[in-house]
């Protein structure tokens, strides 16, 4: 048996052939989107939906443009992004470290588990007013909120991932008389990586939610404050515009981490969500 480069080329071609540029289902999704938006526009124009209830997509588009071309928007946008990313980085880091610590020792796991279960059951959003009381109206309260809400997905996935090492791999390392350090870095951690990344993906979305909820409760700047203010002024098109922008931001953040996932966890099975 000799390795030929042809073998590889064939494998690559098969992969490529199975993934055309625009899949049939993607085209259908776009068609549905266009139809829905058209229907919404139509119903708003003929007055079925009142402008305050559901402004037409065209009005939302105009409001989005207005926001994106005004400088005050970017101040609020920057604050929310800062809160989200800082919260995500701190929360994700803490979650991975604590996940590793808890998994490192069966006794420790049993002792800490009740606390974890209880804290996980706390609706973190309900803590927002407390955080504002503790940390004030500035960004730090929102960062803490984002940390609290994005901690668990990564934490739970880290613990699950570290536990998912199969028995035969463990025995293999044991048969090689491997040190604990080698078992962790060469086996457990890489095995857990796909799970950790799955957790980080959820955490990133949760961090954005945390930041905005924090701003709802009490803030002097940020997208949440902006949203609240426009809502109060009955500027509904702008409210919807902010929701559109926030969704796109969430999507972009997700795509970045998804891309990183594919680059770093090249051996894993990835589902094509988009």
């Amino acid at each position: 048996m000799k390795a030929t480069t042809e073998n590889r080329v064939i494998i690559n071609q098969e992969k490529r052939a199975a993934k055309p540029f625009l899949k049939k289902e993607t085209v259908l999704s776009i068609v549905i989107l266009v139809v829905l938006l058209g229907l919404w526009e139509l119903l708003s124009r003929i007055g079925v939906f009142h402008e305050l209830i559901l402004p037409a997509p065209s009005l939302v588009a105009v409001a989005t443009w207005e926001l994106l071309t005004s400088s005050f928007f970017y101040i609020h946008f920057g604050v929310t992004m800062y809160e989200t990313i800082a919260g995500f980085l701190i929360g994700g880091f803490l979650a991975i470290i604590l996940g590793i610590v808890v998994s490192s020792n069966a006794m420790l796991y049993k002792v800490l588990n009740p606390f974890i279960v209880v804290f996980q059951a706390v609706p973190k959003i309900a803590l927002a007013p407390i955080f504002v009381t503790w940390f004030g109206f500035g960004p730090s309260a929102k960062v803490v909120m984002a940390v609290a809400i994005c901690f668990f997905p990564t934490f739970v996935n880290t613990v699950v991932g570290l536990k998912s090492v199969d028995e035969e791999s463990r025995l293999l390392f044991q048969s090689m008389v491997a040190k604990k350090k080698d078992v962790f870095f060469k086996l457990s951690l890489p095995t857990a990586m796909p799970n950790i990344f799955a957790g980080l993906k959820s955490s990133l979305t949760f961090a954005l939610i945390g930041a905005i909820v924090g701003e709802f409760v009490g803030a002097n700047e940020g997208m949440g404050l902006l949203l609240d203010t426009f809502n109060f002024q009955l500027e509904m098109a702008k409210v919807y515009a902010l929701i559109v922008i926030l969704s796109v931001v969430g999507l972009l953040l997700y795509l970045i981490i998804e891309w990183l996932d594919r680059k770093l966890i090249f051996w894993g099975d990835h589902d094509n969500i988009i």
């Binding site: 048996m1 390795a3 030929t4 199969d166 025995l171 060469k186 086996l187 051996w267």
Partner: protein, 261 residues
């Protein structure tokens, strides 16, 4: 041409070995009074039906499981845990999917703290030996099951262990691939004078490859017979045409109660 490389030194010795697992309050005995002496360079098969404790016995020799009673020795030392002179190969290839073939083969060297540069030369040697020259940069998912087991075998040989413990290593592969790998394995064992203990439930395979077949029964696992296969080595598939070979196979079948009475 009979070139059975065997010295008279006993390398692995089992004396009155027992094993039981506790399930709740109940003690479940899986192995009873196993006595076995294996000489350096011998090829031994542990043969028996599922549940005869052959894999458990192998794991105990490999230091991956403790015995409940009796003594297990390698050379003059009691087996108290995994040892560097023993290489263990599992039913699954257990290659690390984030590592290339080369990096997978380096794993035992890294863990033993060996010389990586020197090991690289050995990788090429071993890949040639297992018939996968040129596959250094492949990842696990680019390899077939048979190729993965070949790599697993090469990895077991990386640190040049004296004793190979093989736990149904080719059991999950198709008949043709398995036979080819069996012949590769015999080649390797003969060339490098390894002591081999192979766990299998394939009678033909055991007779074809082994110097001795340890036939085991169940409830609890025990040795039915320690059968020496006196067919000269090296063996080819021509061996299967010998009356002697069929007699061994039939003898074992009767012993294990296989087929029509």
């Amino acid at each position: 041409m009979s070139t059975t490389v065997q010295s008279t030194t006993v390398q692995v010795k089992l004396e009155g070995v027992y094993k039981s697992f506790s399930k709740g309050n109940r003690q479940n005995q899986v192995l009873r009074d196993i006595n076995l002496k294996i000489k350096k360079g011998e090829f031994i098969s542990l043969l028996g039906p599922s549940g005869c404790g052959k894999s458990t016995l192998l794991k105990m020799i490999g230091g991956l499981l403790d015995s409940t009673g009796g003594q297990l020795m390698v050379g003059n030392e009691t087996i108290s845990g995994p040892r560097k002179e023993i290489g263990f190969m599992f039913q699954k290839a257990v290659l690390l999917p984030w590592r290339t073939v080369e990096q997978n083969l380096l794993l035992p060297v890294e863990i033993a703290g060996g010389n990586i540069a020197a090991a690289k030369a050995r990788i090429y040697e071993l890949l040639e030996l297992v018939g996968l020259k040129g596959y250094e940069s492949y990842y696990t998912k680019e390899l077939s099951g048979g190729m993965q087991q070949r790599i697993s075998l090469a990895r077991t040989l990386m640190n040049d262990p004296d004793i190979l413990l093989l736990d149904e290593p080719f059991g999950a592969l198709d008949e043709f691939t398995r036979e080819n790998l069996n012949f590769s394995l015999m080649d390797i064992a003969e060339k490098s004078e390894k002591t081999v203990i192979l766990v299998t439930h394939n009678i033909n395979e055991a007779v074809l490859m082994s110097d001795r077949v340890i036939i085991m029964g169940i409830n609890p696992g025990h040795v039915l017979e320690d059968l020496t296969i006196e067919i000269p080595k090296p063996r080819t598939d021509q061996v299967m045409a010998l009356t002697q070979y069929s007699e061994y196979v039939l003898h074992i079948r009767h012993l294990l109660g296989v087929g029509r009475a």
